[in-house]
């Protein structure tokens, strides 16, 4: 800060200002040291505590076997490719279905009551039901109906269950975005002669969707992991592949490998979310406002 100010011509910080800057520097150095020391101590305590448990040698053998990890990697990776495909298809379907639900929920006027009520009931139902239950009911219930021509693919049915549940959550994110657009925007659009539908399509929705991109990306990260739940229906995804290799070697290391790969999958998504959020002023949105970033 002082360096920047010193560039102003003919200005030298006063003695009191230099003293204040020195105090701030000392405080900053002290907090960096404290953070470093406490991280080292806590990590050491946790590692030592785990390593010194009576069962550690056996757990290490069962969960962290390098040879089993190498042997399982190709199969788990192959399974992960299914997770990625489910993630991509499901997220696109969820986006549009949830947007439709959110629009239905925000429609005004008695004509739209049935749509509004249906969308509200849908969201209430699928936000309340655990995803695991929806997966079981859809995955085993729908094939049980023996509808001619109806798929029994665990991937499709599992994807369907994920879409049904996530759409309810994402619809609420969209609804929050729609309701955050100030009514004066609609008034301005209507005063120009735009119909209600035109105002929604061209003025409200573009602004609403932009505002909720960070929470949507957050749901995308959650979805990337929950795509692994389709394994309970028998789909050969990363977790299912890990399960198969685990039973072949009588060793749990493949699960750790799968977990590691899921982390590798979500970290880019998370970083992208952060970067996008910062760019669109979601985090620390007040930092640019005078005084907003410097408050003690």
């Amino acid at each position: 800060m002082s360096d920047m100010r010193a560039r102003a011509e003919g200005w030298q910080p006063s003695a009191r200002q230099r003293e204040r800057d020195a105090i701030r520097r000392r405080a900053a150095r002290r907090s960096t040291l404290t953070a470093f020391a406490s991280t080292v101590v806590v990590t050491a305590v946790v590692v030592l505590a785990v390593v010194n448990t009576p069962g550690w040698p056996r757990v290490r053998k069962a969960f962290l076997d390098w040879d089993v990890a190498v042997a399982s990697l190709p199969k788990v990776l192959e399974g992960l490719w299914l997770n990625v495909r489910v993630l991509v298809v499901a997220s696109v379907v969820i986006f549009f279905f949830a947007l439709l639900l959110a629009i239905c929920r925000t429609l005004r006027g008695p004509v739209f009551f049935p749509l509004r009520a249906a969308a509200t009931a849908y969201v209430d139902l699928f936000r309340g039901l655990p995803l695991l239950l929806v997966l079981l009911v859809v995955g085993f219930g729908i094939p049980g109906l023996r509808i001619p021509g109806m798929t029994t693919s665990p991937v499709v049915l599992g994807g369907l269950a994920i879409v049904l549940t996530y759409s309810a959550y994402v619809a609420e994110v969209f609804r929050a975005g729609i309701e955050s657009v100030h009514p004066s925007q609609v008034a301005a659009a209507r005063s120009l002669g735009l119909t209600r539908a035109q105002a929604t399509r061209h003025v409200v929705l573009p602004q609403a969707v932009r505002r909720v991109v960070p929470p949507l990306l957050n749901d995308l990260v959650a979805l990337s992991k929950d795509s692994g739940l389709i394994s309970i229906l028998g789909a050969y995804d990363a977790i299912r592949a890990a399960q198969v290799v685990t039973s072949q070697h009588a060793n749990f290391t493949p699960y750790i490998v799968a977990g590691f790969l899921f982390i590798l999958l979500t970290i880019p998504l998370t970083r992208f979310t952060d970067a996008f959020a910062r760019r669109s002023g979601w985090l620390g949105a007040q930092a640019g406002i005078a005084g907003g970033g410097a408050l003690r």
């Binding site: 301005a188 120009l192 735009l194």
Partner: protein, 236 residues
């Protein structure tokens, strides 16, 4: 309030009433606006100025009373409200520009959607409107890159793009500094000279100099000047 000009008024308001719950905001408004007039609508905060403008623009549904625009009864529920609104331009105190659209797109939007004009033609017309308010060089900017005065000039250009005979302006200089306010008033004055009719709600004393007529609103009723001035002197 009723001018001596000949011919039917462009806008005729009779007995308009509007209440929000128990709060009666408009209590039987009568007003005639004739072509080429600039009418200043003066009143304290909460006197009903904004509600009257919004009711005329059909953004609010009045509880009673009649409004005719160019001889057409626009309170009739069978009237196409969007078509009526396209014949009035509205300028808001806080500009209400569309933040996700560039300045040019803000001005062109209504042409494209309401009048189904092709994009190049709509944008050419929008650019001409921006030139008129001195902001053609800002066409590619987003609204939040502009100062308040510039945003309000864009809002005026946007309100003009349908070529409406009547402009409604709700405290258009209320959020602006002196210089920007004068710029807006000058533009409104030029519009009047070019044949537009303007109904402007304002506190701005300088706006009164630009107005050809003044009407006073107090507690949802039209009052004459002496009564209004008396009420101010009592409160102050």
């Amino acid at each position: 309030m009723i001018s001596a000009d000949d011919g039917a008024p462009l806008l005729r308001v009779r007995g308009v009433r509007k209440a929000f719950g128990d709060n009666v905001v408009l209590d039987g408004i009568d007003l005639d606006v004739r072509a080429h007039q600039v009418i200043a609508l003066i009143g304290a905060s909460g006197s009903g100025k904004s509600t009257l403008l919004r009711t005329i623009n059909l953004l609010e549904e009045g509880d009673d009373g009649d409004i005719w625009l160019d001889g057409q009864d626009i309170c009739d529920p069978r009237v196409d409200a969007n078509a009526v609104r396209a014949r009035m331009g509205m300028v808001f105190q806080s500009y209400n520009l569309f933040g996700h659209l560039r300045v040019l797109e803000n001005v062109a939007l209504a042409q494209r959607l309401v009048h189904k004009v092709a994009r190049p033609e709509a944008e050419a017309k929008a650019l001409a409107m921006l030139e008129r308010v001195g902001l053609a060089d800002k066409a590619r900017s987003f609204p939040d890159e502009l100062s308040g005065g510039q945003q309000q000039r864009v809002a005026v250009a946007r309100a003009l793009v349908n070529d409406p005979p009547l402009i409604l302006a709700d405290e258009p200089t209320g959020n602006l500094d002196t210089t920007s306010g004068i710029a807006i008033m000058t533009i409104l004055d030029e519009l009047c000279k070019a044949g537009k009719t303007i109904l402007v709600a304002s506190h701005d004393p300088r706006m009164l100099n630009y107005a050809t007529h003044r009407v006073y609103l107090m507690d949802g009723k039209m009052v004459d000047e002496s009564k209004y001035l008396e009420s101010i002197s009592i409160t102050s």
